[in-house]
Symmetry: C2
């Protein structure tokens, strides 16, 4: 393991992924742990880090250690200010802050990225920026990171120009768990037709607020099977998100980055809108951390 | 009390309002009870009815008794099918169903009203129809009934032509109580400026899904005081509802019918959209029940 150039930790709210990389940016080894920022007890950050990557640290004493994600938030290890978009790997490296482990070894925390939408309202990401800058560099394209708070970023030659966050995943959970619509849901396997009905509904007249109630009315009046309601709601919310995101930034290649299941859902809905999408490599975070490490080496 | 022509019960999910009316439709007496459909235990419907209006029944043995609202739903006393819009008082009376109290006295349950939106998706109301047909008759106008599931109806010469439901009130509760946005709320008095900021935000680029996350980002980055977040979210959701409803049915007089507090909120937001609104009489339900009773008398 003498060829370890950097160790990257993509440390989110609910899990932690660790990568060991060589000086060409190849991932030599990858590990995952359930020690998410929300679950690390009593600020036992260093213990959690050593649990997942202690042997790597020991065997590669000179490797650069880069941490990205919610570990750098107010509820994480230390809070790192956001850098403002546009942000490329060098700008993100410029916003990194150094801290030290108990044995004096330096570790680097990546900042999140902030932006203002066209009306001056702020938006923020923390962790996604490292995934985005790890994608293959190309001309202007759009990166979609579906999830609890989905992000749509406009990226050009490796720089994040701007982005918008959508409350889609959390709203789905709220509706499914706590609402009068969700109370009608009967568990069942994913139903592609119902999902597509929801996606198409998003393109019809009315508004999300009307369409949500309509999902209930449709189910109560027998037009939608309770076993299909969850798939329909998923399509409805994702359809709204995609329509809104494409309206903000139309006509570019879309790369989707996320869990395989979510990526497939988004690809189906994008295809329904006539947009072909490619699914990005989930280990993009590792490449992003590698690029940050390279920039850190180049810092004066 | 010999002049009681009809007794109306506007019996919703969480409360019950009772009216005693003369043959000119004047309300002689009004009462309220907390015996909502959700809280009446063990199907003790008749007991609840007699608790609020037993003496009226006794003293006016010939008065027509009309019940409207969720009491006629699947979870109510008996389930009454919806009548399809367009629906005027005669059509609603035509959909009434008779039942009998334990002493053989007839009571009449008003139906709800159903409609299909332009894309064929069903929508339903139960209780609101009786309020709407109790408003002063006029040429084509719009009636807004804000609440958990706000209704916007197009009404012409006393007939409900169609309507749309918006999930606004319930979404506000979900966000305030269960979401990562609501977790930032600090209690405070209603703030008109923050409310108007939310209303204006609804008119900006993006989408509700983006604007909801923006409320969090704005608060976290210091652009919105946590004490004002609840007012802002209220304005944001109501602003979206109003914009959507006016897009579906623009340019008509709007009558708002609901609690004084909600009516004032909606009037402020409508005024911001350049629409002047009048606030309707909350006892419109009584007049609606009176009109149904008149039509029932005229039934062959």
């Amino acid at each position: 393991v003498t060829d370890t150039f950097c160790i990257g930790l993509d440390w989110g709210a609910s899990n932690l992924r660790a990568y060991r990389m060589d000086c060409d940016g190849h991932v030599l080894e990858a590990r995952a742990s359930a020690d998410g920022v929300k679950t690390v007890a009593c600020h036992a950050w260093e213990e959690a880090l050593r649990r997942v990557a202690g042997d790597w640290l020991e065997h590669a004493p000179k490797a650069i250690i880069v941490l990205s994600g919610m570990v750098g938030s107010r509820n994480g290890w230390i809070e790192i200010p956001y850098v403002a978009a546009p942000a490329d790997p060098a700008a993100i490296a410029g916003g990194c802050q150094r801290a030290y482990l108990s044995d004096g070894r330096p570790i680097w925390f990546a900042p999140g990225v902030s932006t203002l939408d066209r009306d001056g309202v702020p938006d923020v990401m923390r962790g996604e920026e490292t995934q985005i800058i790890g994608l293959p560099t190309q001309a202007r394209h759009t990166v979609c990171l579906p999830g609890t708070h989905s992000k749509w970023a406009t990226v050009e030659h490796g720089a994040i120009l701007g982005f918008s966050t959508y409350f889609t995943g959390e709203l789905f959970e709220l509706l499914a768990r706590h609402s009068i619509v969700g109370s009608l849901i009967v568990d069942g396997p994913f139903d592609r037709d119902a999902y597509l009905d929801g996606v198409r509904r998003a393109g019809q007249a009315g508004h999300l607020l009307h369409h949500i109630f309509g999902a209930r009315a449709l189910t109560v009046t027998g037009g939608l099977a309770p076993e299909h309601l969850s798939s329909y709601l998923s399509g409805l919310l994702i359809g709204h998100e995609i329509a809104a995101a494409l309206a903000m930034e139309p006509g570019h290649d879309v790369t989707i980055l996320g869990s395989q299941q979510l990526c497939e859902l988004y690809a189906i809905a994008l295809s329904e809108s006539g947009v072909s999408a490619q699914i990005g490599d989930l280990d993009a975070a590792a490449i992003g951390q590698f690029r940050i490490a390279q920039s850190l080496m180049a810092r004066p």
